[in-house]
Symmetry: C2
Subunit: 410 residues, 2 copies
């Protein structure tokens, strides 16, 4: 008799965003004339840039003619895109990455979710707290998480607490903690918007090398960086022998609906004497058939000179929203983090309220929706996330409402 993967059953449902939807729907039902603005959204809202649109139309035309038709592509991605990334993206950062070290995928979420396939199910995992839930959930599914405690944490996962005290930059595990084999780091961070300095990231690279751990570095938000902090983990000496980097076109170029990302596995990176890239290549050639040809053409267009210029404008639009939110919240007397190098603004909930209490209060009094920090893990309790992905007009309006609310309530 067929049995399920029992680890799936241990995994609780993913209730954060459905709970938010439920509360918003309930509020709208009771207040039918209310105009609710969501700054909880984690998706881009601006259309694709002209260079990408042009590349897509041209790629569609390729598919209409036998001479230019593209069927199955290489599972690891077309050379034209891997070479573009190596020269235009890593080249601009002065990081030597060989196109052979780049694996094109259909998005960072898939690659980050699937990378676990190639590692031992006994591997011990470390994640930040608060955290993007995919890092935890995929490891629960793989049986690496152990049992869930009453507080919601899993007993085989090493949690790296990120709070005001450490400026949301995780400290190395202390001597009492088990040494993690796989360390998930995402900087600029979702949800806190924090960044790691060169020294801050170097500390982790050194730790991973000393302990033969692998860092899974999620660089999904690097395009929002404005301060002199690392965009890629390979800017840090030694990272090539201990780190895999995941990159997404979703936030860089608005590809959430097109699906494109890539994973870098340097040649030096080995586990038990086996090149990690060889394991990932075997995984991808067996369980994946490449990203869409159209999307790959579009991805290359993002890195053209014209594409870069157009993209910069879109990013500036979101950065302006982020600044508006940060300034508005500060003017309201709130403690605010992030938003400087990330599309996420992380605020400290005032007056010792819980994240969900603040959610309800903000919805009721300002008709603004955000995301309760506790939804990202216990250390997120007492915090609240707003995002810069709304329209400029709605962001302005939301901040006016919040400022008015704080003026009236103080």
């Amino acid at each position: 008799m067929i049995q399920p993967n029992h680890h799936f059953i241990e995994l609780p449902g993913s209730y954060l965003f459905s709970e938010i939807s439920k509360r918003v729907a309930h509020y709208k039902q009771n207040n039918p004339s209310a105009s609710v603005i969501s700054l909880g959204i984690g998706d881009v809202t601006q259309p694709l840039i002209p260079s990408v649109i042009e590349a897509l139309h041209s790629a569609v035309d390729d598919q209409a003619n036998q001479e230019t038709f593209h069927g199955y592509g290489p599972e690891r991605g077309y050379a034209f895109l891997r070479e573009t990334i190596a020269t235009r993206y890593y080249g601009a950062l002065d990081i030597p990455i060989d196109p052979e070290e780049i694996f094109i995928g259909d998005g960072a979420k898939s690659d980050i979710g699937n990378i676990g396939d190639i590692f031992s199910s006994e591997a011990r995992v470390a994640v930040c707290d608060p955290v993007y839930p995919v890092y935890v959930d995929t490891n629960v599914m793989a049986g690496r998480a152990g049992r869930q405690r009453v507080n919601g944490l899993w007993d085989r996962i090493v949690y790296l607490t990120c709070t005001e005290e450490n400026n949301f930059c995780p400290d190395l595990p202390d001597d009492e903690s088990p040494v993690p084999d796989l360390i998930y780091l995402c900087f600029p961070n979702n949800p806190t918007g924090a960044v790691l300095s060169y020294e801050g990231l170097k500390k982790w690279v050194d730790y991973a090398r000393e302990n033969h751990s692998i860092i899974l570095f999620d660089a999904a938000y690097e395009v929002f960086i404005t301060d002199p902090v690392p965009h890629s983990i390979y800017e840090i000496e030694g990272a090539r022998s201990c780190a895999i980097e995941f990159y997404s076109f979703s936030k860089r170029a608005g590809f959430t609906g097109l699906r494109l990302g890539f994973t870098v596995i340097p040649k030096e990176l080995e586990t038990a004497g086996i090149p990690v890239a060889q394991l990932w290549n075997r995984r991808q050639t067996t369980k994946f058939n490449g990203a869409s040809y159209l999307t790959q053409r579009a991805g290359a267009a993002v890195f053209s000179e014209q594409g870069q210029a157009e993209m910069r404008q879109v990013i500036q639009y979101y950065q302006m929203n982020a600044r508006l939110i940060r300034d508005g919240l500060r003017a309201s007397g709130l403690q605010v983090y992030g938003g400087q190098n990330a599309p996420y603004i992380w605020l400290k909930v005032p007056d010792d309220r819980s994240s969900w209490e603040f959610f309800d209060w903000l919805l009721d009094r300002a008709q603004v929706v955000g995301t309760p920090g506790s939804g990202f893990g216990p250390s997120g309790e007492g915090y609240f996330r707003l995002t810069a992905f709304g329209s400029f007009e709605q962001t302005v309006q939301a901040m006016e409402r919040i400022q008015a609310l704080f003026q009236s309530s103080h």
Copy 2:
């Protein structure tokens, strides 16, 4: 210290197509003027149909405007596509499938590869021999295959032998065989081109229900069916409680470069009292972010009236090639299978030669490339696969050469 998934290390490299490339390259080097024709190809060669091209251009334009821009889609696919498949595809077959039972993915290879995530790693697997290697390799990776024997077979996998003796239709496991929990069936079959009759498939559905097994039914080639045999496993009574169906747009509509497929999990299907659809939904929402919006729009266009008519022409083109190959081989006195309801022609190698001996002989004497049957498993030894995906002109030429070769050598 981080350890790999050791099952990956047990898995030998995938050498079939690289070995073919190597031998062809070697031949061309020694015979630079030879014009080699490949009928080994498993990819479509005809361009996309006009309806699909139009839908793609229109979807690209959607992405250029804020009002019509589509970001993250639902991980399980857009309702417009799931409803189209339910009404236009399953509706035409008179099979009631709820759009909620359909999960859109980026291709059948991904879904078939990833479905194992939701089942126990102790589950016992049955596959046909010969077989599409993905079914075996993904289970080796998941630790379900046991150890590889000297003959290349894995000791925990139940092999269902498909040879001339049973007309390439697998017999039920005998009483001495362990009962498989997961049964992979692909009909029309790759590589043999065989089909199962209604009775032949009913036998497996009954077996699965009796034994609480799940059939993983790969319907990738159904569009090539011309005889009255089942297109979908859900044409068989009882299949809803024991079968998952995988469907691909690759062969139906030439989407190998676009990436689209879907998986059907009926509401009735459970494992240990848990709806299988719920497990798969959790897997997909955690490790996948949906197929490209463009591709999903293109997929819906395939099922428009105009799209169906255009598609039928392309399929007829490949079917004509298949007929040419079958007739040509038979005229040469060969024993030929498949090609009637599938793009694959499976021939019995004459004169007791091995599959690879025949490969070398055909390349040397007719400059035609096919795929040695032994590459699909031990029961494929002594067989050879040709495909209908070449151009008409090259297929004609290849068959002329083969017929001339057999005339001269007899």
